[in-house]
């Protein structure tokens, strides 16, 4: 939980890093909502399951990222080139 990290400030530092990475994702056109940070302890099994379920649903709703689409397009055009050749 917040403030109870075994590494003292580890999870506090992680919050700041996740915020920075979200800004970087935004810079390259990826929805920053695809990355989230949650505080919870090892004893919170049911909450962990809840977070996983909710986040998976969120990502499914968002669909593939623009990077995925771009890679797919690139792979398809590579295959077409091979077929033509």
């Amino acid at each position: 939980m917040e403030g109870q990290c075994h590494f003292l400030e580890g999870n506090t530092n992680a919050v700041k890093r996740v915020k920075r990475v979200k800004a970087m994702l935004n810079m390259v056109g990826v929805d920053p909502g695809r990355l989230e940070f949650f505080h919870l302890s090892a004893a919170q099994g049911p909450r962990w399951a809840e977070i996983c379920t909710e986040f998976t649903e969120k990502i499914i709703a968002l669909g593939p990222s623009p990077i995925w689409y771009a890679l797919k397009k690139k792979n398809e055009s590579t295959q077409v080139e091979k077929q033509v050749a």
Binding site: M24, M27, V28, G29, V30, P66, I67, A70, L71, K73, K74
Partner: protein, 220 residues
């Protein structure tokens, strides 16, 4: 240390997007301290550039690496093969390092990923302030360790000016009046007599104003 700030990502992309191969090259000394240009930052920037290249359908092979300092020849040995095989280099060093790389690899375009800003210190994690302007004629011995060249907006040498108000500079209330700081410090040191001494006209020819400078040790 030298402080710099990463250029806006779009500006960096515009510089490099027409190359088929790019080496993103970090410098792990000054600009790593300010978390802008170190080898870790080079890795992150390379990753972001790969994502942008993928999204825009640009075919670019982007590799990343780095060395301890981009301003000294011996440090380049470990990166020689990588740099010789580069079509273009995006250097995350300060302006010194960018130029050094460009001089070493004259037929390779070298781009700056940072705007080099000032010589400064680390007041606290993540907060850097300008403290020196490399004027070539240091007066810190007379001013109790407070630099009137870098910290006084007007570079007044016998300050303060008439704009000093409540210890703040007339340029901005966020800027301390350097001469107030000088007086405070000299008072604490019991050296207020030094404040009464009139500083002579500074020899600005030793500053950048006198042209690009160099320094060579004899018999080295």
């Amino acid at each position: 240390m030298i402080v710099g700030e990463q250029k806006p990502f779009d500006e960096v992309w515009e510089m490099v997007k027409n190359h088929k191969q790019l080496t993103v090259f970090g410098c792990n000394t000054c600009v790593a301290v300010c978390h802008q240009g170190g080898n870790k930052e080079a890795e992150i920037l390379a990753s972001l550039l790969r994502m942008r290249a993928t999204q825009e359908g640009v075919d670019m092979d982007i590799v990343n690496g780095g060395i301890e300092r981009q301003c000294e020849h011996p440090f380049f040995e470990s990166a020689q093969e990588m740099l010789e095989g580069s079509e273009a280099v995006l250097s995350l060093a300060c302006g010194i390092g960018v130029q050094f790389v460009a001089e070493k690899y004259m037929s390779t375009p070298v781009y700056p990923a940072l705007n080099t800003t000032f010589l400064g210190d680390v007041q606290e994690d993540g907060f850097f302030t300008e403290k020196c302007q490399a004027c070539g004629d240091c007066v810190l011995g007379l001013t109790g360790g407070i630099c009137p060249v870098s910290r006084c907006c007007k570079r007044v040498l016998n300050g303060p000016c008439g704009g000093s108000t409540n210890g703040k500079c007339e340029i901005s209330k966020d800027i301390d009046c350097a001469w107030q700081l000088v007086v405070n410090r000299l008072e604490a040191l019991g050296k207020l007599d030094d404040y009464e001494k009139i500083a002579p006209v500074k020899d600005w020819s030793k500053d950048r104003a006198g042209g690009p400078r160099s320094f060579k040790l004899e018999g080295f």
